[in-house]
């Protein structure tokens, strides 16, 4: 009786190690999901931002910059869309390197920053003016910190997945987004709308595309072996 129980336990341990090592070793050789994000219809025209109240920032821009709530490229491509594995992949521990968010010319760079739960978020101020960095989460803790010029970077973390709008109350045109995600399988669409999610182990995944103005869409994709699958997302643009 006793011997049998030991056997069962050791078998379980062996099986668990096998699965764990399979997961670890399968990753680099996995498949890829890639594609493009585009829009149909007429998106709102980006509006020029008046920075005359903040001369130190205004002079950094030869021509006035425009709002970034919808950023489009050639051939109806849609930039700044977070494409990520929302189901099918296990939650992952945060990587050790920090996700960097910069304030430069009274703009957030990047406009959309994706990073993982509990990953260090490093916020810097490269301007000659004070900013207050004020993310507005609903699920995570809400804090609001002043960051005058020349002060060290602010390090923070979020412990729950969430899309968080970010603003600076002093410069009301400043507006950005944090995407706090559960795993490392994410991408933010580039200027041509392209994205790529590499190193996906075989499996069935739900891929979500999130845009700050147009909401989210999902598609299910099954990956076997090291194949590359192409999926595209098309958002309905709104003229306002």
């Amino acid at each position: 009786m006793r011997i049998k129980r030991v056997h069962v336990a050791s078998l379980a341990v062996i099986a668990a190690t096998g699965i764990a090592s399979a997961l670890v070793y399968a990753r680099p050789a996995g498949g890829t999901i890639s594609g493009k994000v585009t829009y149909e219809g007429t998106p709102a025209k980006p509006k020029p931002i008046d920075m005359s109240k903040e001369p130190s920032c205004a002079k950094q821009h030869a021509t006035p910059i425009t709002t970034e709530t919808v950023v489009t490229g050639p051939n109806n491509s849609l930039e700044n869309v977070v494409v990520y594995v929302s189901a099918g992949a296990p939650d992952e521990n945060a990587p050790s390197q920090a996700a960097k968010f910069d304030q430069k010319g009274c703009q957030y760079i990047p406009h959309v920053l994706a990073f993982q739960v509990n990953q260090t978020l490093e916020i810097a101020n490269d301007d000659q003016t004070s900013h207050n960095i004020h993310p507005l989460p609903k699920l995570n803790r809400e804090w609001n910190k002043s960051q005058p010029p020349g002060t060290p970077a602010i390090n923070e973390k979020y412990d729950k997945p969430e899309f968080i709008p970010v603003k600076c109350n002093i410069h009301p045109w400043m507006h950005g987004n944090f995407a706090v995600l559960k795993n490392s399988h994410y991408a933010v669409s580039k200027e041509d709308g392209s994205f790529s999610l590499p190193s996906l182990p075989p499996g069935k995944y739900t891929i979500t595309a999130w845009h700050e103005s147009y909401g989210e869409q999902t598609q299910d994709v099954t990956i076997s072996g090291s194949e590359t699958k192409t999926i595209n997302f098309v958002f309905k643009a709104r003229p306002y």
Binding site: W143, N144, P152
Partner: protein, 298 residues
């Protein structure tokens, strides 16, 4: 396994159970601890549904019928500042760092004090026990109170002796930290960003006008003023300066801010008026607007 260790194991299990039972109960009921007072949420519930829910709402979401009226005259809320949403677990007046939960005492003081310039009155007329009970009940609205502890109160060093140098240094800080962007160069709440400010619920909000000299949202003393800018008023545009102002410098800023309260008698203002520099600075201030600030366009 001998009987001795078996008994020890049983004892340990029993102790674990005893420790576990109250914490299971606490998932429903909440307590507050203010000094020697212990508040109980069951008692606080009765009081909440008598005094508070008209504004703060059935679920504490700050949407009671005074804010979000229904029925025939449902066009305008009666209140121009939205009542606190307890479900969000974000609070203005804290002794704890930005992003953390306040202490029970912070909340207890807040309801005793009321909020100046808003519809929240002082509840000092309730007994101490009543207010402690209310705090316990308010903590049942947000799950944060079950998963997080209150933040550790920031340490406030003893206030140094008031000097002219301290006021002057505070004046420099007011410039350097760009407090004037919202509060205005003379602290009248009319800085370049003032008219665009919104709170975290997208409701318009005004920065404090020092020239009015009224109480602050979070108290009346120099100590309260110190805490306001070192913890920030969470849920509002007022950020925390704890990472960028050293504790000893913070007192200098407190001393200067007092001199901006031209209608409020304070040792700081009196001292500032005795110096040539201070006299000149006060004389140079604009006279437009009324002492109540009503002439200032927001």
């Amino acid at each position: 396994m001998n009987t001795h260790s078996a008994r020890a194991l049983r004892l340990a299990l029993a102790m674990a159970l005893i420790l576990l039972v109250p914490s299971l109960g606490a998932a429903q009921a909440m307590e507050s601890h203010i000094g020697k007072l212990t508040g109980h949420s069951e008692s606080g519930k009765q009081l909440y549904f008598r005094y508070c829910w008209g504004c703060h709402g059935f679920r504490g979401e700050g949407n009671g019928e005074n804010w979000a009226p229904t029925g025939t005259y449902a066009t305008q809320p009666y209140l121009n500042i939205q009542p606190r949403n307890f479900a969000a677990g974000t609070f203005k007046c804290r002794s704890t760092p930005t992003g953390t939960l306040p202490t029970d005492e912070d909340l207890y003081n807040a309801i005793g004090r009321g909020f100046v310039m808003s519809n929240m009155p002082s509840w000092i007329t309730l007994t101490d026990q009543n207010r402690a009970d209310l705090i316990a009940f308010i903590k049942t609205f947000s799950p944060r109170w079950k998963t997080e502890k209150s933040g550790d109160p920031i340490s406030v060093p003893a206030e140094p002796k008031l000097t002219v140098e301290s006021i002057k240094h505070g004046q420099e800080l007011f410039q350097k930290l760009e407090c004037w962007k919202c509060h205005g160069p003379e602290g009248r709440g009319d800085g370049p960003s003032a008219s665009t400010l919104t709170d975290s619920n997208d409701q318009p909000i005004r920065p404090y006008n020092f020239a009015v000299g009224s109480r602050f949202k979070c108290g009346t003393t120099n100590h309260d003023l110190y805490k306001i800018f070192m913890t920030g008023l969470d849920g509002t545009p007022m950020p925390s300066f704890a990472d960028v102002v050293k504790p000893e410098e913070a007192w200098d800023l407190v001393h200067f801010l007092r001199t901006l309260q031209v209608t409020h008698k304070s040792p700081e203002l009196a001292l500032w008026q005795t110096t040539d520099e201070g006299k000149k600075e006060i004389a140079s201030r604009r006279v437009e607007g009324t002492p109540t600030g009503s002439g200032i366009k927001q």
